[in-house]
């Protein structure tokens, strides 16, 4: 049977889309684009040539990725998110395979194999995996009775918690590994864990921490250990391991109330700030736009997260609620960890700022996530179809 918008089924589907389209949340659609455009501007500024003869093309690539990502977001609106529920297990399986492939054939960058090369493009499977994990975990949880039984909790912890954590940690991508572990735990909590189970789990984690912590610590690369040591005491060696944190604080602080002005920042182009267009891009923005600009940016993130939580609240089914909660929480965590790190509140973990940091796969993944939010939101009144 032919399936497409020209078939009978396809015409019905187009009708449904059109009837739902007037309920598209324009705020959720526009705000990420604004943030991304600000991000591209900041990438341009941060990578301004000072020694190099030419402007690096990061900003152009990111613009291209914005177009692709926006199209992908529109794409996620063309089908009911319910269909994801049906194929959730397959999608999650696909995600795990992607992670495994990355470990074996991944391309090394910055001492980690996070990328897979596909012709001219290289992409980061862990970013795509994020969405697939959310879908898979949500489906698993809502098909189990609440509060979760011991057996389901154990299976959930292994399949959706520890396994992806281990694979990501192996890449090594400790930041993503920790955040996804956290998200899985949050989702389980939202589904409901009995008090006794929760207490036992907590005791188990506390008992496991010394052993597991040491295992994790010894498995860390030197640069990762240094980051943690530097966080504890940045003044140990301001040009060495504490350098990034100190320079990031200088970058943010020197922006003062109104900022140095667009293209007037110095810390990025002059290379005092490392990872200026990726992990530490918030600092570059704060330097040029100051306190006011930073607040506006944070407010834009706040709009997406709160809107996402609202979507979860009004979602027509539990799957939509779980998707929306998971996506909003992911944004919140990424924001918290990334901005907290640039402000010197948290140790340096290689986590990009959603929509803002340079990185195509992450942008694509974030726009698909927002697309899912909009999808859940616009179909909240459709009970049957």
């Amino acid at each position: 049977m032919k399936s497409g918008i020209f078939s009978v089924k396809g015409k019905k589907r187009l009708l449904r889309i059109l009837s739902a389209s007037h309920r598209i949340d324009w705020l959720l659609m526009v705000v990420p684009v604004i943030i991304t455009v600000l991000g591209i501007m900041t990438i341009y500024s941060a990578t301004r040539p000072v020694i190099e003869a030419y402007q690096p093309r990061f900003y152009l690539k990111q613009t291209l990725w914005l177009l692709i990502s926006f199209a992908a977001m529109i794409g996620t609106l063309t089908f009911d998110y319910k269909r994801l529920f049906r194929s959730a297990h397959y999608l999650y399986g696909l995600g795990v395979i992607l992670l495994l492939i990355t470990i074996f054939i991944g391309h090394e960058g910055m001492g980690a194999q996070r990328w897979i090369r596909l012709g001219p493009l290289s992409f980061q499977p862990s970013e795509i995996f994020r969405i697939l994990l959310i879908i898979g975990a949500s489906r698993f949880l809502i098909t189990q009775p609440s509060p979760l039984r011991w057996s389901s909790l154990l299976i959930y912890a292994l399949l959706y918690g520890l396994m992806p954590f281990y694979f990501l940690y192996k890449q090594p991508d400790l930041g993503t590994a920790l955040i996804l572990l956290f998200i899985s735990a949050i989702l389980a909590l939202v589904r409901g864990i009995g008090r006794r189970q929760l207490a036992i789990c907590l005791i188990g984690i506390i008992l496991f921490l010394p052993v597991g912590g040491r295992m994790i610590w010894s498995g860390l690369k030197d640069y990762q250990k240094n980051r943690i040591v530097a966080f504890m005491d940045p003044s140990v060696d301001p040009r060495g391991i504490g350098y990034q944190i100190e320079q990031s604080k200088i970058t943010i602080g020197s922006g003062k109330l109104l900022g140095k002005g667009y293209l007037k920042g110095t810390q990025g182009p002059f290379r005092f700030l490392p990872e200026k267009h990726t992990d530490f891009i918030f600092a570059v923005f704060a330097e040029e736009w100051g306190f006011i600009g930073s607040l506006v940016l944070l407010l834009l993130y706040g709009i997406i997260i709160i809107r996402g939580l609202e979507t979860a609240y009004y979602a027509k089914d539990l799957f939509g609620t779980f998707l929306a909660i998971a996506i909003s929480t992911v944004f919140l965590f990424y924001l918290f960890v990334n901005v907290g790190m640039t402000m010197g509140l948290l140790p340096v973990v290689g986590i990009p700022l959603p929509f803002f940091s340079y990185g195509g796969t992450a942008l694509l993944s974030n726009f698909i996530s927002v697309g899912l939010l909009i999808n859940v939101r616009m179909r909240r009144f459709e009970l049957f179809y």
């Binding site: 000072v50 020694i51 609440s146 949050i186 909590l189 939202v190 589904r191 409901g192 301001p238 040009r239 060495g240 320079q247 604080k249 200088i250 970058t251 943010i252 602080g253 020197s254 922006g255 003062k256 109330l257 110095t266 810390q267 002059f270 290379r271 005092f272 704060a286 330097e287 100051g290 306190f291 930073s294 607040l295 944070l298 706040g302 997260i305 709160i306 939580l309 979860a312 609240y313 539990l318 609620t321 909660i325 909003s328 929480t329 919140l332 924001l335 918290f336 901005v339 907290g340 402000m343 509140l345």
Partner: protein, 582 residues
């Protein structure tokens, strides 16, 4: 569903909490500490490099440069960019420094400093070409030019010109010369030290935008250094060369002054040193070799060593005798070679005696018996009065080095310093410049200069004087007494029997007086063995209108007329022919 709503509310709460934390942190970083971080970001970006100002040039009175500023090359290393290792053994081979020396210099650098680490100074063009060819193998290796001081006259006039060196490590530690740019020099000796402030100039400043690796990107602003002032000294380097050549390998001192204003025309203290060895930094071993040299090359004998003036002092005794009316128009003394006072016998240097001796003959032939008698008639205190008025006790005040006073004994001086009364025999000794009387070569120059100008003592100065300065002290001399004295001094050099015959010049009329300072342990002064006496000679010329007055002192030179007088002649001829007196 209960748990769903609660979960959403909790997450929303954490969202707001996160926002609040970020707001407070941003407030702290950007508003409360904004200025602090802004300064840090400027400091990050702008590197301030001081540019040393070229030192002024020192010229002699005829405009000949006594020092040179020469460019030379320095190899430095920029602080290691993070993650980039330098092959030290290859670098060591390239620039000819051991790996240990290179690492030591790198370690000595202040941590986190962006300033280049100086590896080696004083490279020649050939070395630089070799290094430049392989520079790309060593990121951070840079070649800069600096200016070095060189002293073309070497050991000549080294006490006068002096030398410079970089600030010593200890001085740097104590924070001295902090405002001077890296690689600056400080005057240490002679005119270089005396006029250091004027010669130094004002350093320039280069503000450079740098990146985190210390790479210099854009010059922001450059304030050019202001070259130090040029100094024109009063000395005549040709006369100086003539003087030092005339000394040969003997030790001694010479000070030539312009009697009209105290300008130093030439200053010799031998042995001396080569200032060039200090400029590039001197090793501890060579420093100790100089310091422990038995010839004391760093002793400025002109100002820092005191000797009995010998017969040179007869000028003072004679002048006092004339002015005090002791030596009348027909005053004569019969010299039979010795005189007895009580149980003591005082001898003339001429055993057979001078016979009937008047003032003229006494000066020309340097008769001791005559001045014993004049001394006896004057008494020590009246002699001392004239000696002090002629500047023999004061510190001369050139300021080139530490200076010592002359010792002019009086009755009260002896009571105070020796606790004993003054004896007549001591007056005899003092009258001919022996015994307690000791002066430096500088004092002798002041004395003869005062004779040349008619009684004025000027403070010696190293620079050309436009207006005649105020004399430090002035003694009014009866013109006919002055004339008699001057005639006698001309006779010393120009008459048949004059003790200073060997200073006689065919070209200029020279006036002078010889002196021989007895060396302790050799009272007779004529022993063939043991240390010889010191030779003195003071002179001025041309006798009619003197423009140079000088003292010559030759350590263990023997008789003044033989050792010191020819040197004076050389200097006078060299100076006056340069001045166009012929």
């Amino acid at each position: 569903m209960e748990s769903k709503e609660r979960a959403i509310r909790v997450i929303a709460f954490f969202t707001l909490l996160t926002g609040l934390v970020f707001l407070l942190r941003l407030w702290q970083l950007q508003i409360l500490r904004g200025n602090y971080y802004l300064q840090l970001s400027h400091k990050n970006r702008v590197s301030v490099v001081k540019i040393p100002a070229p030192r002024g040039i020192i010229y002699d009175r005829r405009g000949k440069p006594l020092v040179k500023n020469e460019p030379y090359f320095v190899v430095s290393l920029l602080p290691k960019p993070p993650g980039k290792e330098i092959n030290l053994s290859a670098l060591s081979e390239l620039i000819g420094l051991s790996v240990e020396e290179i690492s030591e210099r790198i370690i000595r650098q202040k941590p986190y400093s962006l300033e280049p680490i100086t590896l080696k100074r004083g490279l020649r063009f050939r070395d630089v070409a070799r290094i430049e060819a392989r520079r790309s193998d060593f990121p951070g290796l840079i070649i800069q030019t600096e200016i070095i001081r060189s002293y073309p006259y070497g050991k000549t006039a080294s006490h006068l010109i002096g030398y410079i060196s970089h600030p010593h490590e200890e001085e740097v530690r104590k924070g001295k010369f902090r405002d001077l740019p890296k690689g600056s020099y400080v005057g240490r000796w002679g005119a270089e030290a005396l006029f250091n402030d004027r010669l130094t100039g004002t350093p320039g400043v280069r503000f450079i935008e740098v990146d985190a690796l210390g790479r210099q990107l854009h010059p922001i602003k450059t304030v050019l250094p202001v070259r130090g002032e040029d100094i024109r000294l009063s000395i005549d380097i040709e006369a100086q060369k003539a003087a030092e050549a005339a000394f040969g390998r003997r030790s001694g001192a010479l000070l030539a002054l312009n009697p009209k204003n105290g300008e130093v025309l030439s200053l010799v203290s031998l042995p001396s040193f080569d200032p060039n060895i200090f400029v590039r930094g001197i090793s501890r071993a060579s420093w100790e070799r100089i310091i422990n040299d038995p010839g004391h090359p760093f002793l400025n004998r002109v100002f820092q060593s005191r000797y009995p003036p010998g017969s040179v002092f007869k000028i003072v005794t004679g002048l006092a005798g004339l002015e005090e009316g002791v030596i009348g128009r027909n005053f004569t003394v019969f010299c039979k070679g010795k005189i007895e006072v009580g149980i003591w016998t005082f001898r003339c240097w001429k055993e057979e005696g001078h016979g009937i001796t008047d003032f003229q003959k006494a000066i020309v032939e340097s008769c001791d018996i005559f001045f014993y008698e004049v001394g006896r008639l004057l008494g020590i205190d009246r002699i001392a009065k004239y000696a002090k008025a002629l500047g023999l006790e004061m510190k001369p005040g050139l300021g080139l080095s530490t200076e010592i006073q002359g010792i002019i004994p009086t009755t009260s001086w002896k009571k105070k310093n020796r606790g004993k009364p003054w004896y007549l025999g001591e007056t005899f000794n003092a009258a001919i410049g022996q015994g307690y009387v000791t002066i430096t070569p500088a004092h002798a120059a002041l004395l003869i200069s005062a004779m040349a100008n008619g009684g004025s003592v000027y403070r010696p100065v190293l620079t050309i004087q436009k207006d005649p300065p105020e004399p430090v002290s002035k003694i009014s001399i009866t013109p006919e007494h002055l004339k008699a004295l001057r005639t006698a001094l001309v006779g010393v050099v120009n008459s048949e029997k004059g003790t200073g015959r060997r200073a006689r010049s065919e070209r200029f009329l020279i006036a002078g007086k010889t002196g021989t300072a007895q060396v302790v342990g050799n009272p007779s002064g004529r022993a063939a063995t043991g240390p010889r006496d010191h030779a003195w000679f003071v002179a001025y010329a041309p006798a009619e209108d003197p423009s140079i007055a000088l003292s010559v002192f030759v350590e263990h030179g023997g008789h003044g007329g033989e050792a010191a007088a020819p040197i004076a002649k050389e200097v006078i001829e060299s100076y006056l022919s340069g001045e166009g007196w012929e």
